[in-house]
Subunit: 307 residues, 2 copies
Amino acid sequence: MYIIESHYLSSTQKTMSRPIIFGEIPGIVEGQWFAGRREMMDSSFHRNWGAGIDGNGNEGTAAIVLSGGYEDDLDEGDVIIYTGAGGNDPGKNQQIQDQDWQNRGNAGLLKSMDQGLPVRVIRGAGHKSEFSPKTGYNYAGLYSVVDAWEAIGKSGYTICKFKLEYTGQNPQRKTPEQIELDYSGRGTSRKETTVVRIIRNTNTAIAIKKLYAYQCQVCGVAIPTKSGFYAEGAHIRALGKPHNGDDNSDNLICLCPNHHVMFDKGMFAILDDFTLIGEESGILHVKAEHKLEIANLAYHRKSHGYD
Amino acid sequence: MYIIESHYLSSTQKTMSRPIIFGEIPGIVEGQWFAGRREMMDSSFHRNWGAGIDGNGNEGTAAIVLSGGYEDDLDEGDVIIYTGAGGNDPGKNQQIQDQDWQNRGNAGLLKSMDQGLPVRVIRGAGHKSEFSPKTGYNYAGLYSVVDAWEAIGKSGYTICKFKLEYTGQNPQRKTPEQIELDYSGRGTSRKETTVVRIIRNTNTAIAIKKLYAYQCQVCGVAIPTKSGFYAEGAHIRALGKPHNGDDNSDNLICLCPNHHVMFDKGMFAILDDFTLIGEESGILHVKAEHKLEIANLAYHRKSHGYD
């Protein structure tokens, strides 16, 4: 065993022994500028020299660097659409094969989403947005991963996409929803509580749930409560950016909470003839008067790698 | 058939034909003062002359009047603990029998909770709080029912309790969590979308879920996702006011989303020997190294009418 003197290798070695740290790093504030990647490593702010994503599927992802490259990414400041790791030729910055969810960084971002772990977002000068620094890197603050799906990139290869929303402490930057993600601490430590799911209801969802008497269209379960049965309206093509699904009855199905989680996470999908694929088999029970938008079923399948 | 001239009866008759309206009533603003109950009826603001609760189990509850009476109620302005209807002697304003969830008004408040419907809160002069008017009534704004449970009142009888949180539009009054309840409208109409459940995670919950390999302690199900399994940490004695449960491992169990909904709504409970009662039978699977606080199991049972 000897100490490798190379600047690059010693950084990599140090990475291995640094612990992953989630959330804010003492002494580093939102907006802080860094001349280079090296300056981010010793504090565990971003431990990797080369990779954009600092994390893994076991622990989650703690930090990402936006350094440009993906043309179909989006950066609105507090809402970011981010393309995951893998499958690109680093020399040419060009996609040469499909990305997958087993990739260490992508698996880490999924873990952070499911656990509600905060992700430090860092913008590099190479990232094309009005928020990027002219040189070096700046710290954009803490974000939450709120969605993950698959798409076909401009290269024609499958890419893993993530939606991140700002959930840091700067009140001037926060949308109401982000304040909720950040708040949620009554009765316990604020730092330790995160939001992993928000279940919404709409008038259309209520109508669809009534049509099915609150029985899950996959398994037939209706959850009893003192005020009748409980079910959830699941949007096939999700509301809001980037999916822009609508709240019409042809985009809604009635599911029990368990199947709602599985559907949102793409663990099963629905063919045009309502056959279930993935981790569920059988058929989605659909009443004759409930017309479903077939294009939305296809969108959901494509988002989760079934087509 | 003839028109009854009595002031009281004609008001009651009008009530029957007025539709229930949820949310704000055009022309009536937060803070508005009313000389009496009669003035609230024609607009459907509060349709009942006598009852505190305007609503029913089919449609939900649209409005309540706080008029004092229950000593163990709480009014912090934006957070209100409210006692339901039934079982009291109106002449003496004294509890003479148990309340129940079948009561029209109580069933309506449960329905509003499950559907995320807004409730107009009105304070009367008889209600003892710093927010009450000296005479007449004032409109406190829109609230959401966020919790419902049973307790033994000072009278010794069972009473139905509700927790309401302000979710109106006045930004100066909103806590971050309430803004979320109110917001939630991206991609669809703000007015039509409500939040019915917020699933939180804590570090302790993550540890408990790992201990059980994300298998539900009731049914053994573990929901598969691309990043491992999904389960929810359920606090036996709920966090936050008024229950003030803690985030320790002896107050947490690992449940699938379906059983989490049922447990939170009190559809089953857990005896001290972990036998399940209510809508579930069998036993809660508890590992030897996972100590549960028996007093919290008892608190949950009592809150939902099992003890």
